[in-house]
Symmetry: D3
Subunit: 247 residues, 6 copies
């Protein structure tokens, strides 16, 4: 079984970090196919970068996804998620989507702690569209971006733990998601500082991917996430154009 690990930003070090953190979670016979966005911002910390990343994710899937059994869209905020679900015939899991659904099993109200302040309103919208807005206690952003945290994780632990404690107490959160590719693996180090569950978004997404592989859902042939009607295009990567054009 092959899993497309799709990092839609353009920093391959982040892709590699995730592959490293995820390796011990891979069952036998399962392979990660790590892919980094071909174009776009180094890190995604704005609506502009996220919009470009949506296209990059689709292209990456078109280029590298053909023989994969599942797609893991591994950027917290999930740029292009619903389009990928529409386009792909295999299960597509988003990191933020999976993390929020995992948190919803553990508590009535969860919080998200992540890096980069612009993600606050962007994630609030994401959770609202998911329908889980009433179960979101708060989004707490810390000043360093996910990318900066990834470069110096040791000094981020105390900061993240403090943000988690603040939202647990102030907002009554019963679980906290550490959101972001750059925070891969840090939840285990933050957990000892907290008495509620701390969820690693990278691992939560992976668990959802593995669950989908074990019990693959039927691809809808009608409805809003069915394959779109074929359409001609221009200026796209050949592989992506072919996917749009297939009947």
């Amino acid at each position: 079984m092959r899993i497309l690990l799709l990092n839609p930003n353009t920093t391959s070090e982040v892709t590699a970090l995730m592959a490293r953190v995820l390796a011990p979670h891979l069952p036998d016979g399962t392979t990660l196919v790590p892919v980094t966005g071909r174009f776009g911002a180094r890190y995604i910390a704005s609506r502009t970068a996220a919009t470009i990343a949506g296209h990059a994710a689709l292209e990456a899937y078109a280029e590298h996804g053909h023989d994969c059994d599942a797609v893991y869209l591994a950027c917290f905020g999930d740029p292009g998620l619903l389009a990928l679900k529409e386009l792909a015939d295999v299960p597509v899991i988003g990191m933020a989507e999976a993390s929020c659904l995992a948190a919803a099993k553990l508590t009535e109200r969860f919080s998200i702690v992540t890096g980069g302040e612009r993600w606050g309103p962007m994630l609030r919208e994401f959770v609202t569209v998911m329908g889980l807005g009433d179960r979101l206690a708060a989004i707490e952003t810390v000043a360093p971006t996910g990318a900066e945290i990834a470069r110096d994780p040791d000094s981020a632990i105390a900061l993240l733990a403090q943000a988690c404690r603040v939202t647990a107490q102030r907002d009554g959160a019963g679980a906290v998601i550490l959101g972001g590719a750059g925070l891969a693996g840090l939840a285990a180090r933050v957990q000892p500082h907290l008495d509620i569950p701390v969820i690693c978004s990278v691992e939560a997404g992976m668990q959802a991917v593995l669950a989908a592989l074990r019990d693959p859902p039927v691809k809808p042939a009608s409805g809003d996430l069915a394959r779109p009607a074929p359409i001609a295009s221009t200026g796209l990567a050949e592989s992506l154009a072919a996917l749009l054009a297939r009947s």
Copy 2:
């Protein structure tokens, strides 16, 4: 790994049906511990029966759950779910909860098809409290109860398929949950009649249990689903009283 398969109604045939349907899904080294409610209605098709079943579920857990690694609350509508999550130190998964979260990964709006008309308003409330109310296309109840369907599944297939088709077209659902212990295993027989995914609630719950076993979350020590403060009680099964009294 032992999974408490907790059927909170008092019909052991339904427990057995579920155990039979779930057996092929059990990984090596995993055992089901099937338990049926000690008291309550034969089937749960009213608020009265569901309220009693909440208590029965807690008692069944207290009696039989001590050496289990996870609890599967296997009644669609999940009576006692949040109390079990509070009380137990191991992961607790509800059948309706897991089914709705599974459906939410597949489509923007899903429907539930189940037996017994009183479940309509009861499930609408359940989904609202889950926060997924905006993603629920409709609840379509068919006249036979889940129990009646379990006794004569063959004649129910056409009825269920029709109900699924109706809600897919009329309400724009992109996936349908066949909800109810009595409908265990029928989704596979209904699926060929539909072009959107049909989810078996019994299997969806099991997948969530297995996922929780692979990646067991930390039990919260504070917040709304932490273990409750110890309290004296009277008139309860000894095992349940002991759980309430532990510090």
Copy 3:
């Protein structure tokens, strides 16, 4: 006219306290029939205890409610409320339900002050299901449980008054409910410290019961709160089993 005063926890002192506080409010020809739960936690301050109490309330009604003209479910949080409404042929009023509806007549946004922190998320869900979530300014829980307040009310007055003032100012509440059986009669002593209405939940529930007695509504014969279809059961108190089985 007989009113079943149904305390679903198992502490008869709380039942007696409520009967004492309510006595002066009883019109001529009206009798209280006080009943305490036969089984369950001493006090209800967790989801576990509330779930058990739902069953205890149904049994208490089945045992003692047969010649009553109304049921007063006298535990703030109303465990088993909708099931009781479904099962009983006479009006059933919950203490939290009545208090919230009373507050809604006095102000656009009300707060609840109660004892026991676990009630925060439990009551938020209750008010949401009632549909009044947008009119709830805040739930302010004080550290002692309702039971502890009942044992030493004098020292609780200042604490409660302070909690009321905080939510009035911080959250813009226009009325405050003092919620909980253990707080029976304290609103009158807290009111002088506040310039907005302070509602005694025990008395508010009683007023609603008396109103229902004066103008008894028709029992619905269809819809979600009609009597449930008859069903066999096992292991229940004989009286409750008989109610479930009646046609």
Copy 4:
């Protein structure tokens, strides 16, 4: 005890009809003080008429309310309700407000049947601001206005019963409010045609007034419904100007 029965439209026959229907419900020692709006539309069936009626209700209160113990704003849709609550020192009850709160005790989802199609969107807004939007199954308007129904009630019974049945079945309503002053007393004649409770809005409002008289709430001295700060005015009835100017 004197109750200001305030009909804010300008048709005194409707006021008289309500007084007649309400007379048997008056406890000893309680007097109705019926008042009809001095200015405005004959009947209220538009936003324009309702807006004018809000002012008329305030003036009628200022002119006739000084020695009353409660105010009954007896027009379904409650023009001027919150302003009256703010201005008056005695309890103010609106007919639609009381009816919706009464229905909310009987069922999870209620419907409103009333005359005059423009009331559909007007009442939907009213119920939304009350916070009960999620519990409203539907508003079903029949073609004749409340005024026309009042003039020929006999021929309206079948029409109203049919509208009630439609919304009970199509929308799953568990109770129906017959809304409108002109429909006073008709619920008792419609009830036999239905198996769910049919609520007379005129009587439901009266019950709430009587409840408020028995247990009069404190007038808030702060918050959104406290007496407004004194303000000079021009062109108003002397009595209303005096109320605005009082400190």
Copy 5:
């Protein structure tokens, strides 16, 4: 083109202030017809005053609106807005309505800063009925009323700028509306103190009026804002009675 500048309070100085501020924004060939309410409170800072102002606005329109091409209801909170839209055949724009829609184009979440604390809950309701409740970051009221600010604007600038900064930082607002006729023209003086857009409600309303004049919408002949059915009335200004009676 003539624009009815309708100030529904009774202080003509405020009308004059707005006319002065708006003059430079008038295109050639466009005339303001300033009108002040004939009756009601000097300033509108309560539900009582707002309710009366709704009637005053309708009368002012009936008296002075006949040859106007658009109506500008120039009181933040828009008393009588929907009734005016229903009654008038020309476009009607409310100051708060237009300001909120303008803010919604600039940011995901906006705040309102205005004078007079009672406006807090009144405006929250207004924005909720508009449907924009989820995009309202906060309403921040400052102690002086709009009227007091109008009399001494210089000393209000610092206060208003501070309130804007507070809500920008604490609530994450991306734009702030300075709401109120009395604050006309102050946004330009507050803007330099802030790094997000500060919207003058008086000017925002005017822009919407001018847009409506350039592209006048069709008056609906059915639906909730169509002209109401003709109705007799009593006690109204002759012009208003005539509008109600026209077929």
Copy 6:
């Protein structure tokens, strides 16, 4: 004044059609700068195509927007809207955004009629994120896509008028938006068949652009739509990369 007319699909005939329809609406001294997406689907009728179009819109702005005074994102559904608002220093108006805000001024509940069934769920999400979900009566999609309608508008008139009438009557809409670039100019031809306003989305967007030009808002320097922090990128058009990198 120069307006970037940004068509993010790749069919220049649609761009030309809009330019032709908009020409008579251009004031003196205002120029349209029509641009068509460089890459992507011919028409946008899926999430996949819309996601790609978001990137295409950003690139088109970067390439051609530098000396424009406003941006008109002229595709109903507004792919990339918030990212463009973030990135650009001049006002950005989306066609669906402007149409919905225009409709909200005319009625309490509006409907959208458009071509291409996949737009149903996509637009429902769009309107929800706008916050106007409660004011949306319905989205009615007709079978031909906007592109097909553009090619043969004559035969579409009856179909569109019928869809408008259906939603007006069935859903109580008080105004209808004809949504889509391909439907440019058809509202005027559909209007005579309806008695409620029919809004041309192309013209409604243009009016909002002109209003923004007359009264240009301040670009926020903080908050969620401020210019994003500079970031390096790879693989983008040089002009877009420069915009991302600017400090």
